[in-house]
């Protein structure tokens, strides 16, 4: 009786990676005062990893270990000092990014903020509007369509950011601690939703988080970064069955992985 709900292929190493990061280092010029070429802030130190199509990977690491910087390099927002990022077929995929701070436009209402990516793609207003309504339902913001960001709580603003990142059906999702400001209940609902979206649509996801539970609940693989300058300290597969629910926390497998990650972080 092992007819599981569509098990994803366990072994993805045969497929062409969606994304290859090789020997990536980022050094920021020292911001306080004189910047000679050899002093700078080493943020990431020769990071290498691969992500396969439809894979969900999580980065765990202490504050300041360069997690945000890593996502920004992948998104093309920060130029690496050395090393490179290669995408499958050598073109940059369509990206949906959720930022650590919600980064909403204060002059746009909730629905207008969510619509933005479709607007930039030149998609008709009615179609964009309908899609945005759908996203609003998905993230549980019904009734707040016409609110301005200043009237939203941190958690609500973050959900607007999530809806905006998903609306244009990106190939690659980059999530920077997207659930950090949500209350526990909403956060767990969002985990389930995100799992569902990720399983339903073919998305590759790179997520940054502080929470071991979150990473084990969502990811296929968890990578742990060291203190600055960030190096990859641990890279573990999470072979827990899907769909995952709350009960999974009480399985011995989960406990073992959680312990392993906790030890790596400390």
């Amino acid at each position: 009786m092992s007819l599981r709900v569509k098990q994803r292929p366990k072994n993805m190493t045969n497929t062409k990676p969606a994304l290859t990061v090789k020997d990536l280092s980022v050094v920021f010029p020292e911001s306080n005062g004189q910047s000679s070429p050899h002093t700078g802030l080493d943020v990431l130190d020769r990071i290498s990893f691969q992500v396969h199509p439809r894979e969900f990977i999580c980065f765990l690491g202490p504050s300041g270990s360069g997690k945000t910087t890593l996502l920004k390099v992948v998104a093309g927002l920060v130029q690496p000092t050395s090393g490179h990022v290669n995408f499958m077929y050598h073109h940059r995929p369509k990206i949906g990014m959720v930022f650590q701070q919600a980064s909403l436009m204060p002059w746009r209402t909730v629905i207008e903020n969510i619509k933005l990516p479709l607007e930039l793609e030149g998609i008709g207003n009615i179609k964009a509007h309908n899609k945005a309504r759908e996203m609003i339902r998905l993230v549980g913001l019904k009734g707040f369509e016409d609110s301005l960001p200043r009237d939203l709580s941190g958690g609500m603003a973050q959900r607007v950011g999530i809806a905006r990142a998903l609306i244009h059906d990106p190939d690659l999702l980059l999530l920077d601690e997207p659930f950090a400001s949500l209350d526990a209940l909403t956060r767990e609902r969002m985990w389930t939703e995100l799992s569902r979206i990720w399983q339903a649509k073919q998305k590759t996801v790179i997520m940054v988080t502080h929470s071991i539970n979150e990473s084990l609940f969502l990811a296929d693989r968890v990578l742990v970064l060291t203190q600055r300058p960030g190096k990859i300290k641990l890279d573990v597969k999470v072979e827990l069955p899907r769909p995952r629910n709350d009960d999974i926390r009480y399985t011995p497998q989960f406990g073992k992985l959680a312990r392993k990650l906790r030890e790596a972080i400390e």
């Binding site: 998104a75 990206i95 949906g96 930022f99 701070q101 204060p106 990516p117 244009h168």
Partner: protein
């Protein structure tokens, strides 16, 4: 209900104007000054009606308004374009800022005669003077406004591959609009001064010309009428900016 509220809002202003008029009338009566030194409100009012009837008032006010509006348009266009370029390029800022600062050390009043000599006593010289006086505050506010656009929003726009034009239209313009309109508010007031300074140097038409004409002819009531029209123009421009702010900055309130 809202009209009652509106009445309540403007009531203090109306009362203070009525009070000022009364005080003015009383001063005229007590001091018994000759009319060519201090006309009474009633004298000014009848002079106003006369100038209105013979069409001269509207004509000269119209000329000045045209100078102001053209001057504002030219000044704002150049100031926002230059300001945007300065905000985007530190090296351009380094090259241009000495000139800009130096230009501010010269009062426009000082170069107005030159401009009239070079450009003639028609509308053109006034438009240029207006544009010059409007240029700097709008420029500064453009630079400040564009520089204040949060870098997180640039990142967000780049992550969804916004083009330069999309970044300008959908991020930079709306984000800097509060500061930009603040610059326009200052510019609008200054532009009235610019037009009058130009007309006082030399002109055949406009409120400045009317002002000078009244002065020469000891028609002091006319001078008062011209001054009040200038105030009306300034208030009108101020009102237009306020309307723009109401319309575009609802999200700020």
């Amino acid at each position: 209900m809202s009209s009652l509220k509106r009445v309540k809002n403007i009531l203090p202003a109306v009362l203070s104007i009525a009070f000022a008029l009364m005080a003015w009338q009383l001063i005229v009566q007590w001091t018994q000054l000759p009319r060519f030194i201090l006309p009474a409100p009633a004298d000014v009012w009848s002079r106003f009606l006369k100038a209105l009837m013979d069409g001269s008032l509207l004509y000269h006010t119209g000329i000045t308004l045209v100078e102001i509006v053209l001057g504002l348009l030219v000044g704002i266009t150049f100031a926002t374009i230059t300001g945007y370029a300065l905000a985007k390029s530190r090296s351009l800022e380094k090259v241009l800022s000495p000139y800009l600062v130096a230009s501010q050390a010269i009062p426009v009043v000082a170069i107005a005669p030159l401009l009239v000599i070079w450009l003639g006593d028609g509308i053109l010289s006034k438009v240029v003077i207006c544009a010059l006086i409007v240029f700097f505050p709008v420029l500064v506010n453009t630079v400040v406004g564009i520089r204040a656009v949060p870098s997180a929003l640039y990142d967000m726009m780049h992550s969804i591959r916004a083009t330069r034009l999309q970044i300008l239209m959908k991020l930079e313009v709306p984000a800097s609009l509060p500061v930009l309109l603040g610059g326009l508010r200052i510019g609008a007031t200054l532009s009235v001064i610019g037009a009058i300074v130009g007309e006082l140097v030399d002109a055949e038409q406009g409120l400045g010309f009317l002002l000078q004409l009244g002065d020469f002819q000891y028609d002091t009531s006319m001078v008062f009428v011209a001054v009040f029209m200038l105030i009306a123009l300034a208030l009108f421009l101020y009102g237009v900016v306020t309307l723009l702010e109401r319309k575009f900055l609802k999200w700020q309130a």
